[in-house]
Amino acid sequence: MQFRNLLKKELRELFTLQVIMSMLTSVVLLVLMGQMFGGAVDSAEEQSGAANIAVVDTSNPEFMNQVMSVVEQNLKVSKYNVTSDDYASELKRLEIDNLVVIPEGFAESILNGEPGKIDFISTVKVGGLTSSLSTITSSASISVISHVIQTMVLSGNYGLTETQINTLWNNVVAVEYATFDGKIVNASAEEITGNVMMQMLIAPLVIFFLLFMASQMIMTAISTEKIDKTLETLLSAPVSRLTLLFAKLLAAIIAALANAAAMTVGMFFYMDGLSGGIMGELTGTAGDAMSQLGLSLGVMDYILFGVQLFFTIAIGLGISLILGALATDIKSVQSLLMTMMMVILVPFAACLIADVNAMSPLFKTIMYLIPFTHSYMAIPNLMTGQMALFWFGLIYQIIFFAVVMYFAVKMFTSDKLFTMSFDFSNRRQRSDVRRQSGK
């Protein structure tokens, strides 16, 4: 009996309405995320279902038909006709992201006992992790073609000498081309995409941790001031409420920026160590290829990113300040912080896994309404030159910041700081008050 009562009391304390609401919010958000990512993965899988192959070589149709027929037995193939060697334009015309081209003279080289050259053209993807799936299937087709040719040459009677056959173990050489925005370079798109992803990963991670720490910091600070009643002492002192508000915000911004600097340095060395000096490599071959494709960031890009980072932090702090001021106890702080974390986490995960711009209009709108989405998308937008999207994001954030500040100022300059609270039990209290007052 005692144990049951104690257990009931503990459960009642743990499962408050705020906690249940937070749990429900998490479930709803996770379901939404599943829907969003499921769609992105399905779409990527759809694209990755078939290997895109164009056979240009007409010198030995019989041999090539035989090769393709065996390849098609092992791989789902989509065949394309290529009319020019301007591969970047061809990919655009065919509306595909990658293509394996078997060029003129391929069969002749193989049958002469020389390695055959295959062109593999792939578009550099600047999006989530799922966007590179289609490239993997087409890239796999090269090893299938290589294997098929080895088997055919070894088993068939093509008049090759034993020495020639032995040299054909590496009979297919893939020459990789990477395209982006109509430009093409002789480099591996996969490697460039990897490097782009590395760069894109650092910024959102820094933003994520920054927002997380800044929100937690200011929400805890303001709620502690309210709960400890030091805020009442301050607000009854001869100090302008706006001065107080902006001092709090500025201090939090300075602390957040100091954190950002520490985090960036830490992330730089972490990524550098993880990738075996990827940053060093970036200045080499991959770095040159990225520059030629217009995928490198200039000084102005970093300045613009810095401006957006400032508004991102300011919005996060503004919202956290308001939410922290609504807290009545430590439990409500935790619930509010959890909700804030989900708002920061959802767009982070969305941008990391999927390409937000490729989402359905509904999810895209939801993601665009969350101001932090634009922060996570800033680097990809700047990198790919999608300046219209960048400016839209920045202007939206500035407007959002103005609205948040309007409410923060209104809260601090009125008595709403003391009369408003995040407390679901208010409804019960209100009815108690009515009952007691007979109203």
């Binding site: 400890d228 009643k229 030091t230 009442e232 002492t233 301050l234 607000l235 009854s236 002192a237 001869p238 100090v239 302008s240 009125s414 008595d415 003391f418 009369t419 209100r430 008050v433 009515r434 007052s437 109203k439």
Partner: protein, 248 residues
């Protein structure tokens, strides 16, 4: 004797809850007077005090504090009052002296004045070397002494204190009561107190206002109230006033 505080019809209404937390509050406090508001829990004491401390905006009514309008000039009022909330804390990461310096800097107009405020604060709280320790290591009594010193070190014209001695042991409570009395006499400082401790109010207050259901029912000296309710002490006055109000 002139009034330092004059409330006229102060009302705080919460329309969403359909409740008047304080209604038509009218009373005055003289310079150097210790004025107490007493009443049961939820009667409107803290709402009234918070309105006078400029934290809550009255829905209607007005108050003049040191000649300034509560509604129109709250920022001027904040220069001449101090407020000590019930169960207030202080910044645990600061040392006691740093806290006094920080709070003094909000009131002082120049470094000399700031220095004077801090020196006075140090003398009043009597915490000695403990002032160099972090507030996080202080006992509840020490924190209350520090906050009280903070509240009076700037020599406000009106010090507003909600449950000034709550949670303190007898010795600390007595010390603080003596200090309040002394400051009222020696510096002509007015005090607006709220307390549940009737013995404390009886000892301290020059005049008392009884508040129930958000309204002030009686204002008078302790002697007047005892005579009116035919009571031996303020506790009996309180009991009778509350039960009368409940019956009516």
């Amino acid at each position: 004797m002139s009034h330092i505080l004059e409330c006229t019809g102060l009302t705080k209404r919460y329309p969403k809850r359909d409740v008047n937390a304080a209604e038509d509050i009218t009373f005055s406090v003289n310079e150097g007077e210790i004025f107490a508001i007493i009443g049961p829990n939820g009667a409107g004491k803290t709402t009234t005090i918070r309105m006078i401390a400029t934290l809550l905006q009255p829905t209607s009514g007005e108050a003049q504090i040191g000649g300034f309008s509560l509604v129109k000039e709250p920022e001027k009022i904040r220069k001449i009052i101090t407020y000590l909330p019930d169960e207030a804390g202080a910044y645990k990461g600061m040392t006691g002296i740093h806290y006094l310096e920080f709070m003094a800097s909000l009131f002082a107009e120049n470094p000399k004045q700031l220095e004077g405020f801090v020196q006075r604060g140090e003398e009043i709280c009597k915490l000695g070397d403990k002032l160099r320790d972090k507030i996080g290591s202080y006992s509840r009594g020490m924190i209350r002494k520090l906050l009280l010193a903070r509240a009076v070190m700037t020599s406000p014209k009106l010090a507003i204190m909600d449950e000034a001695t709550s949670g303190l042991d007898v010795i600390n409570a007595l010390e603080i009561r003596r200090m309040i009395k002394e400051l009222a006499v020696s510096e002509n400082m007015a005090f607006l107190l709220s307390s549940h401790n009737m013995l404390e109010i009886e000892y301290l207050a020059d005049r008392v206002a009884l508040i129930t259901d958000g309204k002030i029912s009686r204002v008078g000296t302790v002697t007047e109230l005892k005579a009116e309710y035919n009571a031996r002490n303020l506790e009996e006055v309180f009991e009778k006033a509350v039960s009368n109000n409940a019956i009516s």
